[in-house]
Structures are given as C-alpha cells and as structure tokens.
C-alpha cells in the first residue's frame, strides 16, 4: 500500500520537518527545534499539530443516536448538542477496536473522529452496524489541525476564529464544513479544528503568523500524550485489551455497563463480574534510562507480572516515563517493579497517571 500524504505536506517541508511513516501516512516527526523544545513550547505557549491522518466520519439520520448507542458504549441520545465524549468501538469480546471522540452536532447529526491506523477497520465495522439503522455514515475529507497549549485560545482569536465560549469537550461548526472542538491529546487546554483542505493553508499561516505558535511534530505529540497519561491505540489499547483492564471505564456510564445493549456489552459485564485480569498503570523508571514498549515487568522476586506498552522520556517532568499493564496485585501506586532492558534490570515504581497535570478548560 502506498504511503498517504498530508494535504499540507508542502508547508511541513518548508518548515524543515523530518518525516517518518506512521499508520500508513508520511508524517512530520520533528521540526528543526527538535522534540524537547517542541514539547516544552506546547506546554508553555501554543503548538500546532497537523493530525489530518485522523479520520472524521459524519453520522446523520433519524437513527443516528440509536446507531451510535449500538456501536459504542455511549448514551448518544442523552448527549447534549455541542458536547463531545470519549468512547470506544468494541468487539463482541469487549476488545478495543479503536478509541474515538463522538460529538453531537444536532438532533440527528453526530461527528466521529477516529485514529488513522484504524480508520478503514472502523469504517467497515460502522457500516456493517449501520445496515440495521436509518443512518448515513460518511467519511469526510478534511484537514485536521490541533492547536494546544495555554495560548491556544488567544492565538486562534488572532487568526480570526473565536472559540472562547467553548469549554473542554464541547464543539461547534464555526463555518461551513468546519468543525472545532475544545479538546486534544496533550493534557493542555487546546482545540482541534477540522476544515476543508483548500482553506487549510491560509488558516495555518494565520495561526503561525503569531509568534507564540509553531509546528509540533508527531514525536512531541507522543511524549506529550504519554506525560498526560493518555492511551495510544495500537500500543496501550488493542483488541485483546478491554475497557476494564485499560482503566477507561470512566468513559462508560454505570447504567450502560449494567444494562447497555452496545456490541461487547455482555462480554464487558462478564469481565466486570469476574474482575479484570490486569490493569493499566503509569510507571516511573528510577534513574535516567528510558524503558520502552515491549519491556517485561517483574516483581522483586522475579515473577513476571506485566509489560510496558508505551515508554520514553517526559521533557516537562524531566525523567523517563512509561505506561503498561500489570496483574491486579502489582498495580498499587508505589509497587516496586523491574523491567529488563538489554540484560539490565531497571527498577521502576507504579506511578499515578498523569505524570504532568491536565490543564483542560472546564466549564
């Protein structure tokens, strides 16, 4: 399969981006500032991310809410207009096919934002379910930009887009075929703005005309989301993990866990009744050496209790950070564990998530 190209690729080339492959896309990994500075800049000012590899789906029709409530553990009918919710797509066995953001735009209109690597799989899954509902399911061609950081609101205002009325996880359609939400994946206040590709360059240039804003690559996006304790599907979530072990049950309202009719509901109820086999946790390696995804986790006496699913360095917290899954009895904060890295045993402790506090603008 040939690599997919971002509509704004030329802009990234001009900015001096270093590119790499991610989820089938040629993506800017870093810019000349480098991942450390890009990461810190986002936490201190405003970082602009091109996340057009992610896929937007429009869901329209009288059966839209019922369709989404079947596809996801989500009370779509109760979701207020302009409100967004983090949710998942589950297999019959409650394995996580993808994690998504669903936003209600009108009585019979919703927007779904899905991960790049899962977009094709998600679409097939949704379309199959849609056969039983009076609903249109449409993939949209959009550029998706995220502007993240404490200066995001004011930079957008300068670029002619006033989103100051939005609070965390609310959204509007500020212009025709635009979609903007106060959300993101860095732990900072910020916005995600979808817009038609032919309007994107001008808009991005307006944002970048503000010296507080700069392009941020995928490498810093990863270190930012890991510091914020957020999951990357394909690493921290996948079809063999379920919402209970992934510690994302907060996204599934209790009545739905008990009585919901979404796909995977019965399996999830079984898992909840038996208790999850393992649980997702944060990990802080002692010392300076990062522990990467794939490292096996052991207790002091050498018993294998889990694995690292994401690991690297946190530029804002200035120490290595990781996330992984361990057996329930090894999941308490402070539990001493060891990871094996190239023959060395690296001591680490179970650490609360997030590593860097969330600074969302709540209502």
């Amino acid at each position: 399969m040939s690599e997919k190209h971002l509509p704004l690729e030329a802009m990234h080339e001009e900015a001096g981006a270093r590119f790499g492959a991610f989820a089938g896309w040629r993506m800017p990994l870093t810019y000349p500032a480098g991942v450390m500075k890009e990461h810190i800049h986002t936490r201190e000012k405003a970082g602009l991310f091109d996340i057009s590899h992610m896929q937007l789906f429009a869901v329209d029709g009288p059966g839209a809410a019922a369709f989404l409530a079947r596809a996801c553990p989500l009370d779509a009918a109760a979701l207020g207009e302009g409100k967004s919710k983090y949710t998942v797509l589950l297999t019959d066995a409650a394995g996580i096919i993808d994690d998504l953001i669903v936003t209600r735009l009108g009585p019979d209109r919703f927007m779904v934002v899905a991960n790049a690597g899962n977009a094709a799989k998600d679409e097939a899954h949704f379309r199959k379910i849609a056969e039983d509902f009076d609903v249109r399911f449409t993939p949209l061609k959009r550029v998706l930009l995220a502007l993240q950081g404490p200066d995001a609101e004011s930079v957008l205002l300068g670029a002619g887009l006033d989103l100051s009325d939005l609070t965390f996880m609310t959204a509007v359609e500020p212009r025709e075929n635009w979609f903007a939400s106060r959300s993101g994946y860095t732990g900072e206040d910020g916005f995600e703005i979808a817009l038609p590709p032919d309007e994107a360059r001008t808009f991005a240039e307006k944002i970048l005309a503000d010296e507080r804003a700069m392009w941020i690559g995928l490498a810093a996006r990863d270190s930012l989301r890991l510091e914020a304790g957020l999951c990357l599907h394909g690493q921290d979530l996948d079809e063999i993990t379920d919402p209970a072990s992934a510690a994302i049950l907060w996204a599934i309202p209790k009545p739905l866990r008990e009585q919901g009719r979404f796909i995977g509901a019965d399996a999830l109820r079984r898992i909840l009744a038996e208790g999850p086999r393992e649980t997702r946790i944060g990990l802080k390696p002692e010392g300076r050496q990062p522990v990467r995804a794939g490292a096996v986790l052991m207790t002091e006496d050498g018993r294998t209790v889990g694995r690292v699913t994401s690991g690297g360095f946190g530029p804002s917290v200035n120490h290595p950070i990781a996330m992984g899954y361990v057996a329930e009895d090894a999941s308490a904060v402070g539990t001493p564990l060891f990871a094996e890295v190239r023959g060395n045993r690296i001591p680490m402790n179970v650490h609360p998530l997030p590593f860097s506090p969330h600074r969302y603008r709540r209502g």
Binding site: R18, G34, V35, A220, P290, F313
Partner: protein, 122 residues
C-alpha cells in the same frame, strides 16, 4: 598527527597512534534528535567491529552505536551520564562516546575519509 575516519553507520573514529576516540556524526545526532540517555560500556571491554558498543536513547527510541573496528575500550565519556545532550550539541567534540585501543589497524583502510562520508549523506 591524528586522522579521522567515518563509517556507513555514521560514526567517526579519530586515530592517534594506536588509540582512537569514537563518536557519532553531526548527521547522525540530527537524525536521532534530542538524546536523553547514553548507555556506556565498562572500560576494559573488548569489542569486535560491528558489535553494539553504546546505546544512545532519544526521547522516542533507542539506537545502537557500533564499534567501527576491533579493540578494547579504555575510557568512556563520563560527562554524558549527567549531560547526554552533549552528543547533540558537540557530536565530534565534547560529545565523544568512548576511547579504544586498536587491535588491528589494518581495519582502518576499510573506512571512509571525510570527503567520502560526506558524499554518502549529500
């Protein structure tokens, strides 16, 4: 008089008499990005050409640095323990990785000079 050689894996080796200093090139540090950790071997370790001698870790990934020739590691750059970013800021100077005693100077003839190396990354 010292002479500096380069490898296709983007290492430099500066030879003076029978000993050499090894590091990674500016091109290599740029490709790796900001380094946060350097795993150094113990002095006294014998290495064969092509062995992983050092692991450099960026925010995102770990990468091996290979011994360009056979020899014995005599010294490692202790300054990198507290300041791994020296490899980014001064890859061919203060950011050197290790010093070694060569066991087969004949292997040097298989390496590139600066002009040949620069042609490979141009």
């Amino acid at each position: 008089m010292s002479k500096t050689y380069f490898t296709a894996d983007h290492e430099w080796i500066r030879v003076e008499g029978g000993t050499a200093t090894v590091g990674i090139t500016d091109y290599a540090q740029e490709q790796l990005g900001d380094l946060v950790f350097v795993e150094l071997p113990e002095a006294g370790k014998a290495v064969k050409k092509g062995d992983s001698a050092v692991v450099v870790e960026s925010v995102k990934a770990a990468s091996d640095v290979y011994a360009p020739v056979d020899g014995e590691i005599t010294e490692v750059n202790e300054a990198l323990k507290s300041d791994p970013a020296l490899v980014n800021t001064a890859p061919t100077g203060e950011g050197w990785l290790w010093k070694m005693k060569l066991t087969d100077e004949g292997q040097l003839s298989g390496l590139m000079d600066e002009a040949a190396y620069k042609a490979t990354i141009a």
